[in-house]
Symmetry: C2
Subunit: 323 residues, 2 copies
């Protein structure tokens, strides 16, 4: 696995090789459908790259890499029910295609399947890998619950928001790199450092996602302004709310459901407030801060600098930063 492309294709092959039973069809077909959905396989890539920092045998990381990807897809499957999302990666979501009961149950089976993949890590590492995975999985559920709580909450602070996205997004990246490092033979101290690296990287990644949703990026197929039209409490909205006067706050709170405005006008109105309050620059600053912090942690690992180069490059490409 010399290149990232080869690594990605090894992960795809590993995910595709599992033969699910033909029956009961409504339990297993949605799992194959969900895993064939693609995506950039961020979590298994991070797990495998992390293993590669400490060991030249990265093939050993494939079952655990598949486990974190299957777990991630399980969370998407259940989140789509809770968020009532009909589309996932351009295709009907599982609950839209098969109904809610099938989505609940095949999601459950998918989580168990993730544990089955995980159970094939070397026996001597299993207790610590399993414990890391369990903590990570529970924290991801906490993040999803906070995310749903925030929809009902009138005011969410920046600190609360950062805590939520750390649980909902960063924790799964962190669990992935820590498990990869464990499999590669890393010390506890290096595992802790890599955990911090992935937490910061995940925060940078999520904030960039928030920024791109309103300010766009050609790479993304989705329409600009979706978060604004949904009235979502993103980093941009929360930052704007914390800097605005009361009249502006009221505008931000109500713009998305103002029947007098077209969608384009709603987006324009909210973005002009964002711009006036310097929100894009403040967000970009925060992204840059988190991302630099992540990269600097890589320098502290107890390995030769050359061994972290691939992880560094991958993190750069993820954030679309050139070296």
């Amino acid at each position: 696995m010399q290149t990232n492309e080869q690594m990605l294709s090894a992960i795809e092959n590993y995910l595709a090789q599992t033969e699910f039973p033909a029956e009961p069809e409504l339990l297993y077909a949605p799992i194959g459908y969900s895993l064939a959905g693609g995506g950039k396989r961020l979590r298994p890539m991070l797990l495998t790259l992390s293993c590669g920092i400490f060991s030249d045998d990265v093939k050993q990381a494939l079952p655990a890499a598949a486990a974190v990807e299957v777990f991630h897809n399980f969370t998407l499957l259940h989140d789509d029910i809770m968020d009532n999302a009909a589309v996932r990666r351009g295709k009907p979501s599982v609950h839209a295609k098969w109904g809610q009961n099938v989505a609940i149950l095949s999601g459950d089976a998918m989580m168990i399947y993730a544990y089955r993949l995980l159970s094939s890590v070397p026996a001597n590492l299993l207790p610590q890998v399993l414990s890391t995975f369990n903590t990570m999985a529970l924290e991801v559920c906490e993040g999803q619950q906070y995310d749903m709580d925030f929809e009902q909450k009138p005011k969410v602070s920046v600190v609360e928001y950062m805590h939520m996205i750390e649980l909902k997004t960063s924790v799964l990246l962190a669990g992935s790199v820590v498990i990869g490092a464990m499999l590669g033979g890393a010390s506890d101290e290096d595992c802790r450092r890599l955990r911090r690296f992935a937490v910061e990287l995940g925060l940078a990644f999520q904030l960039q996602d928030d920024l791109l949703d309103s300010y766009g990026d050609q790479r993304l197929g989705k329409a600009i302004g979706g978060d604004i039209l949904e009235g979502k409490k993103t980093y941009l909205m929360i930052t704007a709310m914390s800097h605005a006067d009361e009249a502006t706050r009221e505008m931000l709170r109500t713009a998305y459901r103002d029947p007098a405005l077209s969608d384009a006008e709603k987006i324009g109105k909210v973005k002009s407030i964002y711009d006036r309050l310097d929100v894009p620059r403040l967000t970009e600053q925060q992204i840059q801060l988190r991302f630099e912090r992540a990269l600097s942690i890589l320098d502290t690992l107890s390995v030769a600098p050359s061994r972290t180069q691939r992880m560094r490059d991958y993190a750069m490409s993820l954030m679309d930063r050139k070296n």
Copy 2:
């Protein structure tokens, strides 16, 4: 833990001792609510008794015993959403009390929590215990899917029905006794025998449940005839359908939704057909066959007969059979 009462109370204490985080409340409160719901703790009792066949240290079995009980309660939580059941053990079900999204997510967290409990088994046994647990958990999902499939299926055979209840009910009892036996230091051969014991016991138990729903038992708080009024495909209904002529089959198929009949009349009509076709006796025969088979397997274990006495007594009390 001399008596079953002491064993049960050790299990209850172990389940109650976990302190869940206070936040996010909507994630963790339903788990505590669900686990405090009582029940006879059949699966952890079987696990602990099975461990006790091979070892005098049954305390070591408590974390795994708690894990199978938590897993069982997770399945009830999600099944209640899928079956739209508003009541569980005389209290509002989690989704009736907190809504569907909370029930999905706290159910997910509960399954992860079961794995966390399981992860504290001795490291040398963890790979085989985890693998047994994963297979069991996946089969339980298969059973639930078949159960839902059967609702839509015009004709279900006795063989298909027995396969479904083996997956939905027996497999979790089987996983419990096998894990208990592993922890007690049983041989692979004894684990296999205990698996068969629990599969047969589970079938006997489920068929008795079907019989009691229509023919009653003072111990059960629930009204007689619920399955008949729901038009459920139970062992009784499937056996009756396979023995009846076409006119009677049509009556069985439609009685539960005949607007001209009161509930009591529907139940009376179906039961008079059951009686005419000798269904109660055929069911009782099948229960007796499975139960005797289960007990006879206990005799084949490579231990002194006295060591299986408690398991035998427990199985008897479960089926309300006197020695």
